[in-house]
Amino acid sequence: MPDGATVKTAMLEIRDLQAFYGESHVLHGVNIDVRQGEVVTLLGRNGAGKTTTMRSIMGIVGKRNGSIRFQGKELIGMAQHKIPRLGIGYVPEERGIFSSLSVDENLMLPPVVKSGGMTVPQIYELFPNLQGRGTTQGTRLSGGEQQMLAIARILRTGADLILLDEPTEGLAPVIIEQIGVAVRKLKQRGFTIVLVEQNFRFAATIADRHYVMEEGHVVDMIPNDQLAQNMDKLHTYLGV
């Protein structure tokens, strides 16, 4: 697998994306490019529209306009359930662990869409907390364990673009480090990752580029290697 950063083909191209929840217009022309093998983060304050951007890619917002192209295919207008089948995996911010399913059933739920996904032993290696909990009811796991499970089940499917919405929320620092390790491993294996993060210290350790969102627009794009110079700007964006 070639090093993602050197490949210039855009895997995901978002142009002038508008999104609505009922009456309220939430995204006002978002433009984002993600190249094969990159790790890109979306930063921004609460309510900036990060989650909505992800949901728009998956086709689960009320209404959306503009263009979202994945490997050249237009996603807007495509039937919802076909989008993941192209090889896009989504880990929602509220985790979405199913309480009527056991941990194992949760893990095995998303259908494999491509070869090259992680095997169950590999997953246990990455997230040892999940081992031996197979028969526990999904939502009986602790908050952090649920987050791991939510990531783990996407890794199984072989999707090559993974959307992670705040994967570190509510996690202990060690686990965050582990997830950082996991993300880097995934990157090495050629996965493309879009990550929503509030914790930009974490983001800085793994990402190639950062998009900054504000009120439904992308207001800036900062390559990771220029992060240090842009720290002040970033602090104002994020209101730290």
């Binding site: 359930h81 199913f98 259908p111």
Partner: protein
Amino acid sequence: MFDLLGVPPQVLFGQLLLGLINGSFYALLSLGLAVIFGMLNVINFAHGALYMIGAFVAWLLLTKLGLGYWWALGLSPLIVGLLGVVLEKTMLSRLYKLDHLYGLLLTFGLALIMEGAFRHFYGVSGQPYPIPDALKGGQNLGFMFLPNYRGWVVVASLIVCFGTWFAIERTRLGAYLRAATENPVLVQAFGINVPVMITATYGFGVALAGLAGVLAAPIYQVSPLMGSNLIIVVFAVVVIGGMGSILGAIVTGLGLGLLEGLTKVFYPEASNIVVFVVMAIVLLIKPAGLFGRER
């Protein structure tokens, strides 16, 4: 020869067997309800009415088109299932994001409409439906005379029940269904066509009711009211078994059939309430039902 509380053992065996037969009806009907509740979170009050329609379709096929029992066995569940698909697509599907109670209220209204319409057009005394020739007659088991048709009912419904149980509890499909009940949007985001799956499930659940209707037609009068009394008992069965639990519905259906059979011998007056008494007791001891999981 000794009597059990004044009841000769042959009679008792006979009654137990009859209880099992009734139980298999309960099982089939409550299975459909459990599938629908478990997957759609809808208490399908229209189940009794759809059971009635299943029987009526069989009767109409016979009288209007001359198609006999075996045709009806295939066609009637199909037609009822399609009706279910239409109901789901046009009405029920709008209610999933609301409180479960709305599903109950909607199907309550639908049941009134369906029963009322059939009453209006066909009266209430019921229509005769003959036992198919191949299943006429019976076996003398020594302790009782078992009509062949009743034997067939038990076999047919047990096969369907356990087939369904296997499909839902032991296959991936079941996991999708349960997950979709909880969070359809996310399951969709995993690449599964949830609306179609849910519609199909409802269709399947009511087709089971239709099938029960065809099986019942030769035994009971085909009447618009045949479902309305039964449905309350079947509800109780589903609640006792644990709402949404497939196995619970089947086992409880059979078990309550037996229990009811015994009540009919020892204290027949109570045979209609025994189910409710059991339900109250079970819920006190095990709130989620015998096989239900607490959510």
